[in-house]
Symmetry: C2
Subunit: 334 residues, 2 copies
Amino acid sequence: MRLALDAMGGDDAPRAMVQGALDYARAHPAHTVILVGIDGDLRRCLAQESPAGIPANITIEHAAEVIGMAEKIKALKERPNDSMNVSARLVKDGKADAMVLCGNTGCSVAAAQLHLRRIPGVKRAGIASPLPTITGQHTWVCDMGANAECRPEHLVQFAEMTSAFLEAVYQRPTPRVGVLSIGEEEEKGVPLTQETLALLRQTSLNLVGNVEGHDLFKGTVDVVVCDGFTGNIALKTAEGVFDAITTILKEEIGNGGPLVKVGALLTKPAFRGLKRRAHWAEVGGCPLIGVDGVTIIGHGRSDRRAVFNALGQAARCVDGKVMDRLRAFFKQAA
Amino acid sequence: MRLALDAMGGDDAPRAMVQGALDYARAHPAHTVILVGIDGDLRRCLAQESPAGIPANITIEHAAEVIGMAEKIKALKERPNDSMNVSARLVKDGKADAMVLCGNTGCSVAAAQLHLRRIPGVKRAGIASPLPTITGQHTWVCDMGANAECRPEHLVQFAEMTSAFLEAVYQRPTPRVGVLSIGEEEEKGVPLTQETLALLRQTSLNLVGNVEGHDLFKGTVDVVVCDGFTGNIALKTAEGVFDAITTILKEEIGNGGPLVKVGALLTKPAFRGLKRRAHWAEVGGCPLIGVDGVTIIGHGRSDRRAVFNALGQAARCVDGKVMDRLRAFFKQAA
């Protein structure tokens, strides 16, 4: 399996990308990671991070240009040889089986759609983001920010595609589907959620109805659909609360007496468990579902661990033949 | 000062209401808490919770009917003598200086608007909800769910009203105002947020621009405006993450060895500090801003501590003469 990684995207690129790629390549000798970016920069970074030599299953694909985190989508057209365009072309040309992009989300989504197109029948591609829950099984929210505004039929397709993805890649049969709203009752919400709920009733999906913000972390629903504006705010709010709680607890421990400090040291395994179960870097990247080629959108703040996990997510999608599954679904629906 | 408390609203009513009222009345002998609800039920509950006798500054206002947590707004018209209608009439008739409602949010908001009306010039009343931040100073988000759908001019008024509220009640000069969106750049977001940003630039408010979900807990902005759908999802997501982290940590400690358990005991003061600084029950209820009379919307899950704090919030609004401030603002604007 060959996984293309945009090595120039993300707040800590290329370092975090190279580190994550090295970890992944060593853990999966049968897979190849193609680092996409400026050749000289990547060689220097690889030499620094792996002085003993570069694993044989890491290759470099030169991309002369770079698109920054805050640039607009037109940059993609202006710089056809940037690392996002080159990564997407590798997948399109069959030179890579999947790609992982941790840079500028807007441009990453646009690059994927520009080169790979959508699966015939798909109206909008959506980012499906796994949220940790107390049961250990993730709840997948789609869309997490690819489409700020959506129509009900888009949300219905997000539900269909994310359900098919979970069945194919995680062997979760008949995933439970919810609509993110502001009350469980059917009439609660806004026209978008009300109409989506009515349309979903006509599908064969396993619909649970409206769900609320606090239901996202209970493990009582597998797929939650919403527009990308709402999804992005929910995701970033969740990350913000996690970070704030961590910061406040550290301060409280720092301001505590010696016994509190000893206690915190002893409790470390529990905190490591929390981080393993709930930190965003562990979730492994978000599939951009609906695009005709496996595309994983990583976090802009990705560190080596997050990159490692995003590459793993890409490999799981390839192994699960999620593209075949989705193409067949929309072919049948047509 | 006389504070009316809907004693029949909330998941644990009337018990939590009576407990919170008793705590508050004992802590503030110069204030009177008027418990509004079914006389017999309240007397029995008071006798149970305070066997030594009822403080002189607690009174009962009989309301023969009750509106349940899941009922629709029409229930207000069908049951004119329910505890929400009676509470609102007490404020309208000058028999109470403020009211606290922890029941069904939709009916609470409707009861306030029905009897108290909006301040002349106000297009929509909004729920301003204080979110804990790492700096200790709350960020106030408006609207938190009174209006699922909003127009830009509503969000501008939420910004004006919440800023005036913070100046009057918390002596925070020129509060920093942000628009909840999905990127800091001006063009990010949806038409509602883009148009709101443009309108806010024409005001004299201290605008910081777009803010994202994770900015809500950093203490870098004082007032954040959004429609009630988005605000409600952000709030409930935040509560959900707090609850999930608590649950996971407890599980990890429970599954840990004896040293982890000892560590957790020693670390308790830090966890108490976290709860004091960040738990929703500590925030003290949310003013329904724009209604012509002090109205505090409490959490449906309110316990005695949350009720105590919501009554405190009501008293601070009365002390800060927030109604005079808002009436003067809109009179001048007209």
